[in-house]
Amino acid sequence: MSSPEHVLSRAEALRRALPSDFRDAIAQTLYAEASRIARRAVHTRGQRGRDLDQWIDQIVTGPVTGLLVMLVLLAVVVWLTVSGANVLSEALANLLFGLGDLGRSLFEQVGAPWWLTGFVWDGVYLGLAWVVSVMFPPMAIFFPVFTILEDLGYLPRVAFNLDWLFKRAGAHGKQALTMTMGLGCNAAGVVATRIIDSPRERLIAILTNNFVPCNGRFPTLIMLATVFVAAGFSGPATALIAASAVVAVVLIGVGFTLLMSWLLSRTLLRGEASAFTLELPPYRRPNILRILYTSLIDRTIFVLLRAMSTAAPAGAVIWVLGNIPFGESSLASAIAQALDGFGRLFGLDGTIILAYIIAIPANEIVVPTMMMIYTGAGRMIEAPEGAEAIRALLVGQHGWTLLTAVNLMLFSLLHNPCATTIITIYKETRSRLWAAVSVVITLGTAFLVTFVTASLARLLGLFPSGG
């Protein structure tokens, strides 16, 4: 009878006596046997199916056609998401806000005190309704479409096509996909980094995902683009110009992603393990019904529930701030006033800063919160109808300039991840440190970039009123 300790020490001695490549030998033995068995069991007649796969691959990875296919598919996905979401969002908002009005009048009839009605319906419920109506439609369209491409086997080809670009930034080609996922929702993009099996590249993808604006930030970008960039144009050109401006912002985001990936891979993450493998699986017919079910349940509802759990308290805080009187106006206005000097340093103003602090749980409520503070209303409200009205409010009454608009666009693109994403980063990395790093690098970049543009504008003597 031998003791466990004896067995272990024998194992160690035997290991040292083995040639150092004995693990290679094991793999080699196994594969040699696999090859022998496969030769007996597998009979190949012709290569019909493989020819089709190869033909498709020729197109989707070809130098010109590959790029073309990729751009067309991206455009289709984005168009489907944005245009479809518009219709759905409006319908959903009408429904939910209508329900809110109903609930409020019910409370009033019962004789509930004004602060309870306000807190419940104008605070908590309104926050929830806003997040759901803005967030749900684009995700409900984006995720199934994305999942179809995933199940087809097309997405690994995108990673293959773009890997050379990401390699230069020290990242993995699959990051192109987690970034695309980030367009839908950054939290989902962070979860999607599981497909990257190399620790260093996965961390890079997690920490930089937030530089891709998720659809929760689109309302801010679209409003700014419509009001400030496309203002000089009329008719259908407006929409096109606005869309191009948003695309330009996304591209700037991609640029920052690559730059930050490059920096991280050479500094903070230098010592992390790294390897590159990418399997290109055969193309397969997707199972549409299952995709619809799983992408709605696993991704959309999952993300939505997480967002709702943080949006409800945010709605409550916003209502409280907007309804506690402070001097002549509300506490919210007073805080915005106090933050104004700080905001101006970055070409923004106090209201924007406050809106972003409150909107840490969910970016969807940035615009309504800003509108609430600007108009002095007691609850979150929609931007006024029409570009002219918004211009009048922001430029006319609150002294916005083109610099404010540009810097708000940049800030919206670069600022810290929302609470949902931060929690997700913590869960995926199981490290408070990386969650903190993700906040520090994004917020740092946002303040640095906006400070530089604001200072430049000041130095050049542009927009004196905004600076």
């Binding site: 067995v7 035997l14 004995f22 046997e33 696999a34 019909r48 999942t147 995933e150 997405l155």
Partner: protein, 277 residues
């Protein structure tokens, strides 16, 4: 076997086999046997899992997608099975977290049977993992999935020859349509009941390695008499697997070996929880 399809939309009167399967989703408070589901990534493992349990797991056409270990249940011929979906891996020899989870469940979770899903269009690559799993357990069934896709590509898999070579049943299936799934389930039942005797193929390593194993295996067997996979344990100890070293020191391995001889205790035992965070 082609008639054994169980597409739910079809009338089940024409396929008696379908009546034997009941999907139980996550209701698994009582179960008679534990089945592990292993395989390479992207072989339709979760399609099979969903088809059997009625759950809707999604992993996508993606190699290397880590998902948490999923569990579900099904009832076949009146016997309740708990199905544990292991992470898809190419191998069980590395230190990656996925492989550790899969490896440790096969060893310490002691499933009553392991279903290894293989991709018929890339059998050679899949055989690497199959051979490794057969080192750990001899209660296994190979499900050769995507037979339809292979046929389209002009690839025929002779599952009879495969069974012969591997020493465990190999069943052709199309998890997407349900083709062959009934045959797979009855093979699983037969293997568990001992109606089908398995004699898994064990590879011959290089002489040097073989000599080291020959020295270690008797030592391990003297500590854990009757351990069915002493050679695999020896291989892992040579590799320096910390989890196995600890299992050896704590007597966990001896415990596993002891339980092998008391089949009754296996029915009601608690499943070892491995790889959970």
């Amino acid at each position: 076997m082609k008639n054994a399809a169980f597409v739910p939309s079809e009338s089940c009167a024409t396929c008696p086999a379908f009546a034997q399967l009941e999907r139980m989703g996550i209701k698994m408070d009582r179960f008679d046997h534990v089945i592990a589901l292993a395989g390479n990534p992207n072989t339709g493992k979760s399609t099979l899992f969903n088809a059997l349990t009625g759950l809707k797991q999604h992993t996508g056409n993606w190699p290397g997608k880590t998902v948490r270990r999923a569990e579900g249940g099904y009832q076949f011929n009146g016997v309740r099975y708990k199905l544990v979906d292991l992470p898809g891996t190419y191998s069980l020899l590395s230190t990656s977290q996925d492989e550790e989870v899969a490896r440790n469940f096969l060893l310490f979770g002691q499933p009553d049977c392991t279903v290894i899903v293989a991709d018929a269009t890339a059998l050679e690559r899949n055989l690497n993992l199959i051979l490794q799993i057969l080192e750990i357990t001899d209660k296994a069934v190979v499900a050769v999935n995507l037979i339809d896709e292979a046929r389209r590509k002009g690839i025929e898999v002779d599952t009879r020859a495969l069974s012969c070579d591997l020493g465990v049943p190999a069943v052709p299936i199309v998890a997407r349509t349900g083709e062959g799934v009934m045959a797979l389930l009855s093979s699983v039942a037969d293997v568990i009941a001992g109606r089908l005797q398995t004699q898994p193929r064990r590879v011959c390593y290089t002489p040097q390695l073989q000599a080291a194993l020959d020295e270690l295996v008797p030592l391990i067997e003297s500590l854990a008499p009757g351990l069915p996979n002493a050679r695999w344990v020896a291989l892992r100890l040579l590799d320096g697997d910390a989890r196995l070293q600890q299992a050896l020191l704590s007597g966990e391995l001896a415990e596993i070996a002891r339980r092998q001889h008391v089949p009754e205790s296996r029915l009601s035992r608690q499943i070892a929880v491995v790889g959970q965070q």
